[in-house]
Symmetry: C2
Subunit: 333 residues, 2 copies
């Protein structure tokens, strides 16, 4: 296992410590229980936006804590759900009197543990709304999921809802917005190579030298099909077609296009994919007016790419453009 | 070779096309000859800041073109110097009447071709200053270099000089500033895995499963030492010690710490490295007051990390904080 780590069991803690040391003006880190939270929390009168999930998908979620995005993020061990006490304590620290929005990726462990935390918080008199993100069109039900998995749209929902909370949306309206983003976002990913969970020490699955997997999950869960390698254009077309036809996105739609590296795929390849995606959408009369290109929801060092499309209206565009200042996403601030 | 590409010989062109399609409000792309330039070029009365070099190090340099950083970037083929006609044409397009600063990484081909372009431009009556970046402390002379190689400090010089040009520095003062940044910046990198140039189709070098290389170059040039894998803390200490003792950085110094992935190393590991670097510098009384953590000067999908330290004064801090808006680096705008 070739990784820049010390003891495998210390990776998550040490990485969190590094995040806290690096960005003291933006985030604080609690180690017991583990969560990352806004340095200036609680923000009085603002709904607190909280997410979380297994580690190994960095910068999601800890890298998105800051001004205009998340108030707190609760990381589990690598590819393992966080426990309810993490979300409970995080919420108690960042809640500013206007309630809490949980943004939860649809994995059974995450859903269950966020639900337990919500119940515990309601018992303390704190209002909680929970929105499940289930945007992955690849498969119905999966290794860790009933229904569809939650992937790329999570990043977009965190940005957009973080902005809306900043602008004063109340809890009910914020939860509705989050459901709208989930309803309008669709994703699919693929892998060229597997990744290795530090404490496991060996790849989570095997792919032959001439093979790839289409529709893979962010923990290496089986996708739609394992097949021989194809060109970037062919791969982009397979992913884009599945995403476009699922919503479906139609001529005249305006979208945010999110081309995401699974971790190990470099920028030079992401832009080859983006080029083809642009042309495919143009042919269908779908206009890209916002975009996000890089590594935002990853699977450790896995090579591969995911494509997310989010339908936009004026509200979503304005919220997307709203200033954000976090370790991993920043503009206008 | 597992890559998201079409024909290997088309990767650079297609990736540039993707960059241009993705960020039309920031950059334009010329394909013949190849260069990326500011969408609003030329900016009248401002010194034009131009860099370039082999492709495969993305986002450097094309991802740094935009407001407050580069006016143009000239990409060669992967790991291959650009030709003088690229810099010549780029300069003619972006020059706004106040001359041109070339920021050149110290590789023999780059140095020679930027020099030829400078001569051609002077023949047209355009003032040019050229500053060579040679910050890599790993080795003297190398596979493609006389003297030291140019690595991470290049990114910092491009940001800082781009800001200074924006603020109205004239050409002479801007070149002096760039030499100061190069004089105050030091770097060293290491690799866990090699990378594969698309047209070569096989890794540029071999590393056994239990081996790493300390002091590696960004094209896989030999470093200081090939050795058995060590822990992240030990690796960070080796890199940091070499960098600190070279300038040397001393107690009381304020620095920018730049922890850079060679491409395939994920954020979770970068922050493990940052954590140790923070403690090592703290022990020596060196204070990190600015930082950059992520993938900024890469070697395709190579796994590994580089550490750059830049000594700061008030001028450099102010220029670092100046708004920037490029595809890959953005804040305050």
């Amino acid at each position: 296992m070739k990784k820049l780590i010390n003891r495998p069991e210390d990776v998550v803690r040490e990485s969190l410590e590094g995040l806290g040391l690096a960005w003291p003006e933006l985030v604080r880190v609690s180690l017991e229980p583990r969560f990352v939270y806004r340095a200036d929390a609680p923000v009085k009168g603002k709904v607190a936006v909280i997410s979380g999930g297994g580690s190994g998908h960095e910068p999601m979620h800890g890298g998105f804590v800051g001004v205009g995005m998340l108030d707190a993020a609760c990381p589990g061990e690598v590819f393992t759900s966080p426990t309810p006490d993490q979300m409970f304590e995080a919420a108690r620290v960042v809640e500013g009197g206007a309630g809490v929005l949980f943004i939860v990726k649809n994995y059974s462990g995450d859903v269950m543990n966020f639900e337990m935390a919500a119940d515990m918080l309601r018992g303390e008199g704190i209002e909680v709304e929970s929105v499940i993100i289930d945007d992955d069109v690849a498969v119905e039900n999966s290794l860790y999921t009933q229904g569809r998995r939650g992937v790329g749209t999570t990043v977009l929902a965190e940005k957009i809802c973080g902005a809306a909370a900043d602008k004063g949306y109340d809890l009910k309206r914020l939860a509705e917005l989050c459901r709208k983003v989930n309803g309008w976002g669709r994703s699919m990913g693929m892998a060229l190579t597997p990744c290795t969970v530090p404490t496991a020490g060996k790849p989570t699955f095997q792919l032959a030298d001439d093979e790839m997997e289409i529709g893979i999950g962010i923990h290496g869960e089986p996708g739609r099909e394992r097949m021989k390698l194809k060109s970037a254009d062919e791969i982009t077309e397979m992913l884009a077609k599945a995403v476009i036809e699922d919503l479906p996105f139609r001529a005249g739609d305006e979208v945010l296009a999110f081309v995401n590296s699974m971790g190990g795929t470099p920028d030079i390849e992401l832009y080859v994919v983006y080029r083809k995606l642009h042309h495919l959408l143009e042919e269908r009369g779908i206009r890209i007016s916002r975009r996000l290109i890089g590594r935002y929801i990853t699977s450790l060092e896995m090579q591969g790419v995911s494509i997310t499309l989010l339908k936009l209206d004026e509200e979503l565009k304005e919220l997307w453009d709203h200033p954000v200042r976090t370790p991993a996403l920043r503009w206008g601030a």
